[in-house]
Symmetry: D2
């Protein structure tokens, strides 16, 4: 089933599990995929920046995507296909769709500056991968140095029928969600799904502003699922209580680049979701001090959420 | 008393209070200064980025600095003197020191790239303002796009006797604090004061890593003072409890640019520390939705910290 | 007489002459101004980037502008007023206009990214300095990292009655001139003056594309004046012959940053237009090898243009 | 024969010829390769930025490299292997070397900032592709936004035995050549080959400063070969005379991005070196005005160099 604008819930950004020697750990892909399904994820996103996609060669990337898709058993899988050029992007996108992906995600190259450069890029990308391939805009200025105004996002949506979702991770970004939903309300933009990233740092309010859920990689995707569900049920205080209990750890994981990923993989390994916290080179690992800080935070979270306790 | 490397505690980043028409609100400067002293601040920093310094002309900047210094009655005041050129920097620095400033803070221009460009810049800056003027390095890559390695900071310290403090706001940054303290321990760098910025988002652990305190502008500097004090007293859990209670609001204030400043000024005005949340043009103000979110967060913080409640 | 859209010819970008000790050399300002007039310049631009404006404090900048204006005896002088904030920009702009400037030039801060950020900036700048002050857009992406599309320039022109001129130094830029003149032809943009910078590297074709002349600082502004005049007279081949004779030296001067300025000042000093090639610190000076290269180039230019020979 | 530090002469940056429909034009690859050999090129570089490498998928890139290498019949071919990650870089580098490449060229990703980031990147790249693969540093700050000091280049050379050449295209860059040759003279850096790019804009002086030749793509590589040879023979004035005759056209081709490439391919097609000036999408083509300007320049060059005349 192709991705469309009605997507909601939580699409965890899946890390790529590696063995200590840098080989892909396929068994952990299976275990992680099962875990995501078991906690109520509504989809998954693979081969993003935090999936260490640039460290993979083309054949590996495709094999990893296939493994996730097969194991997901129908859960929609979005595949990151950002590439320095459209030929490579097309190759991965077509192959991923053939393998059963629900859609693809495209980040802008960090050299884009003007509104026209950005909208032109997405038009050309959609043409390159085929207009039958649903795609997600990734709006992450902190990492990509590309600033998209509300109006630019609207232009991309209006100019590309295949654009069905925004991965929203501008910061600050709450007013952007309100503005985009306003565009839908006034009829100037067709509906899209908005899933939020940026480590989940503002998820509590983002769903209140009209976001459909989360697409990020915090090591407790079960918490993200619960927060989105509680908000949907109207249990605002309960949603914030749970979110706030995790916020000290979530904030700690939200350190840009390989450090944040090291925290994420460390906690996922501690939870038994993946076998090892190894990153493929060049990567990062946690110092003893950092590990102790994470353990301290886990213990504190566990006072409110038992899932953070008794990790073996 | 000139600033030196023994500085510790909390130096709030003072916003510049304005009236609704953009005029400087000097009465609020006095009130805010009194407030900072009353809650245990050990110093203050004025005319930083969040002090809207670039919106002031030279004469205003100096008058504001003088007003803070006079009212601080001996509490050391650091004056931001970052400028596009050394002549303007020198003029403000000399005048500020003459008016009684304890030292100055210098951010690197966002065009610097190589290690040598950065260290050369600080050598030339110190020569320009006079080597008798104690200065603070501002290390804030997210905002200034200038990346300083640990070794570059050490070079700046070793090459400039007047360099006495680091405003640490790299992100991720915990390992940087450990590394710099390691340089002091192995004798390769003379001691400096390290005060942490970045909105206070990691202050709880930064002081555990060896930072001397905070230099940031969260609207509850009293909380920052308490956290630093509790950690100094060895009350780790109590420090984290207090910090965590504020983290949802602190995180909300930690939105880059004018939005974050709008939150800060809004809360400070709600607390009666300043008269108005106005920013000088071009600035930002909070939407009704954002105000409601801040109020919701204040009410939640008030469950743990009465200072956030009953705001009139 | 205020600057308006009919401006044409050559407005040399005047360097600021310094003595070896970094003091401003006012006598050389007078001599240089007389020289510019004597060779047929139709105006002058002072306090630009290559005028080392950021190294001046506010009082110096104003005094220098006044000196140029007084000596120019009616020749229109444009004053660069780019500043990190609008208060400083306003102060210099108002003072310069009071002193007799014909208009001001405004470069965008290098943090602007989106079309809206750029057009908003110019609206706010014009409001800040006063809508009675004619201003020039400086479009120089190589140096300022701000990319303005043709449509953005049109928006700035249409939104600001005070915008009368474009300093065109985008690169590549020939099609931009054609497009902007096309906007005028189709009535979608009111007429503006277009003077070209970028070291003059494409001046030969820029005037053929519809530019009104040059605003750049090549050490032979007399050549620039001749090329613009020859093209206006329809002497295309003669214009190119003269331009090409200078191109090897012009290209050599066209090295970004202090190196290019060092070449420019060296040649101007050799020609007796200014007393010294000193730059205020931090600056650059030519190595012995570079000086020998410049002398070699001067000798070669002199075979075609006697003004480059017999320099004392 | 693997590339080593004794390489000299001219290694043209080969464009990738396409048919109008975007397919690779292999017959033109053969013709162009023959042309390069016939005019005295000492090597070739393929799959660089101006070879539209990012628009190719992995299989195409390899096939193109193989075609060039086979046709070059022993002339050393350097293959650009810059990639967003080391896995893709390794795959292309190993395959290219197996196909007979003499070495590879590596540009830094545009996110690198500090000296350590840059030197670490090259260490990791060399380790990734194998330390038996000779590589070329591409130092092109205008395009890649990565600034390498002289000392950083020396560190890369000293830390990586496989580093044998610098593609020098910093600007300004003459003093950099002198400094690097000085490092060799004082024994602090082992010898490397320095070939110059940046469109050839300073080639006349670069070889005088100690560069070994050119690696750039001007549409008259025969002229580049002649200039390098004349300088090697001590015919300085003749070298400059020839260079200067081409400079107006060379300067016109030296427009960054697809415009410059459009000029290059247009002239190469006019000369019969390739069949079509088509760029693969997204690309650029010349307007009628631009074509007329190029024709005018060709006619002017032809007065001094008959190779620019009578183009059919």
């Amino acid at each position: 089933m192709p991705l469309d604008h009605t997507a909601k819930g939580v699409y965890p950004i899946a890390p790529t599990p590696f063995h200590a020697d840098g080989q892909v750990d396929y068994a952990s892909i299976d275990r992680m995929t099962d875990f995501y399904r078991s906690v109520g994820s509504t989809g998954m996103t693979v081969l993003g920046v935090m999936g260490e996609a640039p460290k993979l060669d083309g054949a590996e990337a495709l094999e990893i995507a296939r493994r996730f898709i097969r194991r997901a058993e129908g859960l929609p899988v979005i595949v990151g296909v950002s590439a320095p050029g459209f030929a490579a992007m097309r190759a991965l996108a077509r192959n991923a769709m053939e393998a059963g992906a629900a859609g693809v995600m495209i980040a802008p190259p960090n050299t884009l500056r003007t509104d026209d450069q950005i909208t032109t890029y997405y038009r050309q990308a959609s043409e390159a991968i085929g207009e039958d391939v649903p795609f997600v805009i990734q709006d992450f200025p902190q990492t990509f140095s590309v600033v998209m105004t509300n109006a630019v996002i609207r232009r991309i949506v209006q100019e590309n029928a295949a654009c069905v979702m925004l991965k929203h991770e501008d910061w600050p970004g709450l007013e952007k969600i309100s503005a985009l939903r306003g565009f839908q309300a006034d009829g100037s933009m067709r509906p899209i799904s908005i899933l939020c990233g940026n480590g989940g740092l503002f998820l509590d309010f983002e769903v209140e502003r009209g976001a459909d859920g989360a697409m990020t990689g915090y090591a407790f995707p079960d918490m993200l699922c619960d927060v989105v569900r509680l908000q949907a049920e109207g249990q605002r205080d309960a949603a914030h209580d749970l979110f706030d209990a995790h916020l000290p750890l979530l904030r700690y994981e939200q350190q840009q680049g390989p450090t944040g990923l090291a925290v994420r993989k460390y906690v996922m390994a501690r939870r038994g979701i993946i076998a090892s916290d190894a990153q493929r080179k060049p990567g990062a690992s946690l110092t003893a001090k950092a590990k102790a800080e994470v353990e301290y935070l886990l213990a504190r979270v566990a006072r409110h959420d038992p899932r953070a306790g008794a990790l073996g």
